[in-house]
């Protein structure tokens, strides 16, 4: 039975509201009939009106309000309408939430959800992947599901893992259908979970019976693009690759990751800027554990995200540019 990412996510939120009266959704325009800018919460305010708090445009204020609720044992899930606007929550998250969690040494349930990413022509302030602002901040865990995770299950886990979670969704993923694991997909690849102690899984997407020539490490909205590249590399160049997807972006189990890399070439792919990106941390740690024949990091060019399609596709890592870069690099 196939389900879209957005429906799965909404089901997850609905289940949370149903089973736990201390869960609250907080944000701008999340109530009905609007149901949020991307319709993630549509219908929920009709079913659970007392647990949906529609806010004024005061991102700092209502993020802090959520933190206060969490300090008194409630389980707020704060929505920031576009990932670009998390800039307004940075102080409350880094200087307050993270500090309370660590300095006061308390368990806390606090989730901030936000849709990240470009490719929709929204322009410079509505297309960024700013989750990077939280990478490496002690006390903050950044989670990003992709179409091979159930975002509904992941949001539930996030609510119950007793620590501050930034939950990154990708705008393009909402309408996509989730992919099954342990099943041949498109006659091409298998998706398998990677054994790990992690609460939030890593997966490997492999082409059966072929030794991978390169390992692609990625997350979130880049997963479908990477799968497309994997398919094309196979079809057009008979090159086999493996893709490792990570859902806990900040607390990476490097032992499991290293164990599951079967090629000698590692390429990280992220939608955000390659410069000082997520990927460079990964490859830096990996090469410090063992030598690789090749490592590289693919991401957006060092430039704002422009609106026009031709420009956006030039700046962001598209299937085409990823394909080309990988081909150049592993040859």
């Amino acid at each position: 039975m196939s389900i879209t990412y957005i429906n799965d996510l909404r089901n997850g939120l609905r289940e949370l509201l149903k089973s736990d009266k201390t869960v609250y959704l907080i944000g701008e325009d999340i109530g009905d009939p609007y149901g949020g800018a991307f319709k993630v919460t549509k219908g929920l305010s009709l079913e659970y009106p007392n647990n949906i708090i529609q806010t004024p445009m005061s991102e700092q204020g209502f993020t802090g309000m959520g933190i206060g609720m969490a300090l008194n044992g409630l389980k707020p899930i704060v929505e920031i309408m576009f990932g670009d606007f998390i800039t307004l929550t940075i102080d409350q998250i880094i200087n307050h939430l993270a500090k309370f969690y660590e300095v006061y040494q308390i368990d806390i349930s606090f989730v901030l959800r936000t849709p990240s990413g470009g490719f929709r022509g929204y322009g410079p302030t509505h297309s960024q992947s700013l989750e990077r602002l939280f990478f490496g901040i002690p006390g903050i865990t950044v989670i990003a599901p992709s179409i091979i995770n159930s975002p509904g299950k992941m949001i539930t886990k996030s609510v119950y893992c007793n620590r501050p979670i930034i939950f990154i969704e990708n705008k393009l993923d909402y309408s996509k259908v989730l992919l099954p694991t342990n099943k041949l997909i498109n006659d091409i690849c298998f998706i398998n979970p990677i054994d790990s102690v992690q609460n939030f899984p890593m997966h490997k997407i492999t082409i059966p019976e072929m030794q991978p020539e390169a390992t692609i490490i990625t997350y979130g909205g880049m997963v479908p693009a990477c799968m497309k590249v994997q398919e094309e590399l196979l079809m057009e160049e008979e090159i086999s690759t493996e893709i490792i997807t990570i859902s806990n972006l900040t607390d990476i189990d490097f032992t499991s990751l290293l164990n599951s890399i079967e090629s000698r070439k590692v390429i990280t792919i992220e939608e955000s800027w390659e410069k000082f990106g997520w990927g460079s941390y990964i490859t830096s740690k990996l090469t410090q554990s063992k030598p690789f024949e090749h490592t590289s990091n693919i991401g957006a060019k060092n430039c704002y995200i422009p609106a026009a399609k031709e420009l956006e596709d030039y700046v962001l890592p598209t299937t085409k540019t990823i394909y080309k870069r990988i081909l150049e690099e592993i040859k």
Binding site: E28, D29, G31, P33, Y34, A37, Q54, T55, P56, M57, S58, E59, Q60, G61, D84, F85, R120, G121, Y122, G123, P124, T125, H126, N302, C303, Y304, P306, A307, A308, K309, E310, L311, Y314, V315
Partner: protein, 306 residues
């Protein structure tokens, strides 16, 4: 002095532009997003017609087409920008919400231009430049902390800024009255900023009050705040069906369409002539924009560090 025909033409240009844009969007001929200002055109035109376009700066927000057209009368560069074409104002780099032309600036963070507008106004004062800053904002933006900080900053530094609140009563789907304590007059008052108000979404009322407020700012080198009650006839953005508004509300305001009010003072014949003329201009602008070339990717690198 602009006469009614000219005013109607400016207003109709904006309306026609927004309607055409909606059509293009609904046909899937444009990507991205956009925010129409149908119903609010009078504010843009009444304000911009009564500033000194050479001296004053204008900061806008996501709902900026009306402001832009009132200044430039140029639907082509705007349509092209929104479509991501090279002849667009910024070669399609910014699209609907991210535009700059001379002294006109917009950006996509609600209310985020307001601190910047205060800085522009302060700079004019410090440099002894003539002119003021006209800063448009919406009712939703009024609850952003940095907007409130800016009211204080504008007041204490006596900067020549006119805040122009287009109060269409909604921030996206949220009725501002439900999430806003007190009222704007009291809030503005509490920062010692003079408050001006229009309630009827009428061109001439707005013009008159605007001139007063503008004169105050200019002559006193101090901030003023003007609230215009208005109504957005279109959705918040391209796909919004306005389900959160009541039918009565919509009907009530529709009856008071400010464009119809002005149209009544023009002969039917002239009105139709203006409308046809404008429609043709707009249609051709969209067609020209649509068939024009996209930008070359390398243009974006022009001002990028490294």
């Amino acid at each position: 002095m602009k006469n009614k025909n000219n005013i109607y033409k400016s207003l109709y240009l904006i309306r026609s532009f927004e309607q055409t844009l909606e059509t293009y969007f609904s046909k899937g001929q444009i990507r991205g997003t956009t925010h129409g200002c149908i119903g609010q055109e009078v504010i843009a035109v009444a304000a911009i017609n009564n500033i000194n376009i050479e001296q004053d700066w204008i900061t806008s927000n996501h709902r900026c087409h009306g402001h832009f057209l009132a200044i430039t009368n140029d639907p082509l560069v705007l349509a092209a920008e929104i479509m991501g074409k090279n002849i667009g104002v910024l070669n399609g780099r910014g699209a609907s919400q991210h535009i700059r032309l001379k002294h006109f600036l917009t950006n996509g963070i609600t209310g985020g231009m307001i601190p910047i507008a205060c800085g522009l106004a302060l700079s004019k004062k410090l440099k002894n430049e003539p002119g003021i800053v006209l800063a448009f904002l919406g009712d939703g933006a009024m609850n952003e902390g940095y907007v409130m900080e800016s009211l204080n900053l504008a007041s204490i530094y006596h900067v020549p800024i006119l805040f122009l609140l287009e109060n269409n009563m909604y921030a996206m789907s949220t009725r501002s009255a439900n999430v806003t304590a007190g009222n704007y007059q009291k809030r503005i008052d509490s920062y010692d900023i003079p408050y001006f108000e229009t309630k009827d979404n009428d061109y001439f009322t707005i013009k008159k009050t605007f001139q007063e407020a503008y004169k105050f700012v200019k002559s006193q080198t101090k901030p003023a705040f003007m609230e215009c009650k208005t109504f957005r006839f279109c959705g918040h953005s391209k796909s919004d069906k306005k389900e959160y508004m009541s039918q009565q509300e919509i009907q009530k305001w529709n009856l008071e369409d400010p464009l119809l009010k002005i149209r009544k003072d023009i002969s039917e014949e002239e009105a139709i002539k203006i409308e046809e003329e404008v429609k043709t201009i707009v249609k051709e602008a969209f067609q020209t924009a649509s068939s024009s070339s996209p930008p070359d990717p390398t243009i974006i690198l022009k001002h990028v560090a490294n």
